[in-house]
Symmetry: C2
DNA sequence: CCAAAAGTGTTGTTCGTACACCCATGT
DNA sequence: ACATGGGTGTACGAACAACACTTTTGG
């Protein structure tokens, strides 16, 4: 069998929306490397594929290790492959191919020591080519908000339409008309399930609380820009 | 460095539209394997990543080897990564990770001996997990017709609106209203460039001939189904 | 003239945007 | 009362489906 031999790794782009510097921001889970190369640099969590593992197995195992094993069951089937990265010089130790993975999962617990959620806008200089993998993951997540119900996974178990809108606004860095957004998401069957309770204590009219519905696709999709008119 | 070692390969899903059994059909380039395992089975063209090659380099090299080196220059930058496949038992020789690639290229010459374009609908039982890779490639190509001008790459250098429509119909296995299709594609700026010549010899009114324009995106996209109403 | 294929005009519907307006609560 | 945020109604426009209709060739 011709060809060079590679170590194969999986790197995770774990995204969430957190309040940072007085606004909701898209954040990514990073870990501080404890060994060379890139010792003490931030990096995406990940690890090598072991014997008898498929890529998704490795991704699920690493995800459970980083975010608490409790979520492992719910994680299966919600891991999306991003792309493969295999530039000859991407790892000084030798040839390593890394597969990027993007998990779609509900709101996450706070990270352990040595790990943190940092706003993607402030992140530069990650280890290896992780800046690139992160950029691809963010772009994929942005695209998925358009045609899937992924945004609801960034919210807590119960949330308001405004919470959901803030997810879109944080991920896309745009402003969305609250009134049209309301109609759009509440009229999509299976996206949001109303609960009996309402929120109290806020300033205005108490909003309705919703849970995630069974729908995964958005038809028609949510539009990201005010239509790029082709003239 | 922990983890198992893999050979890394690239497999190409080279698609084209050809006339087969009296109708235009989406066909894929396959090669007959000359060695074990899966000797004499059909397989996707591909090969192993060599030293100092990145994945795209390997894909471009294999593509040039299979379709004639003449196209190599035009091929750069038109290779889209599909996904990585690394099931532990996908290759009996040992652990092999394969990256699928989908080239977007203009109409192709006839294949060499030992290779053929076969209708994707008739293809089963390819070597390794190539049935799966093919299915992923076909689905990606179908999706790309919606929002890119890829369909024009399946046509000869000069083509009619009807030629272009037949590409959509062959790839999507649907029927499209010729009149609305005409308006849609001719009104998208940069998609089609009219030429001075017209076709003669056909049965009805001679159609206008077009060349591929510079546009790569389709805004708004071409719709694939009569809108899957969510009720 | 007639059939066949190319191409245009028109109408109804769906869906998004913009924005006026009403609702329900805290202060 | 009034500010604040939640939520509804409505008018306008863009784009698509459906299909009648005109144009231009070959037989």
């Amino acid at each position: 069998m011709r060809g060079n031999l590679f170590a194969v790794a999986v790197d995770l782009v774990v995204l969430t929306v957190r309040r940072h510097q007085q606004r909701d921001q898209l954040c990514v889970l990073l870990v501080r490397r404890g060994e060379r190369p890139f010792e003490s640099h931030w990096a995406l969590p990940g690890g090598f594929v072991q014997a008898d593992e498929d890529l998704g197995d490795t991704a699920a195992r690493e995800l459970a290790a980083q975010t608490g094993a409790a979520t492992q069951g719910a994680v299966q089937g919600h891991l999306e492959q991003l792309a493969g990265y295999a530039a000859p010089d991407r790892d000084p130790r030798g040839r390593v191919l890394s597969m990027g993975y993007l998990p779609d999962l509900p709101d996450l617990p706070d990270p352990e020591a040595g790990a943190a959620f940092l706003p993607v806008e402030d992140v530069y200089g990650l280890a290896f080519d992780h800046d690139r993998i992160l950029a691809d993951g963010v772009e994929r997540a942005r695209a998925k908000l358009e045609y899937t119900t992924l945004a609801a996974a960034f919210c807590p178990a119960e949330f308001t339409v405004t919470d959901l809108r803030r997810v879109y606004e944080a991920v896309w860095r745009t402003e969305i008309d609250p009134r049209n957004f309301q109609r759009k998401v509440t009229s999509t069957p299976g996206f949001l399930i109303p609960t009996a309770t309402r929120v109290t204590g806020g300033r205005g009219r108490p909003p309705q609380l919703f849970r995630r519905g069974p729908a995964t696709a958005l038809h028609p999709p949510m539009l990201r820009e005010p239509i790029p008119v082709p003239v």
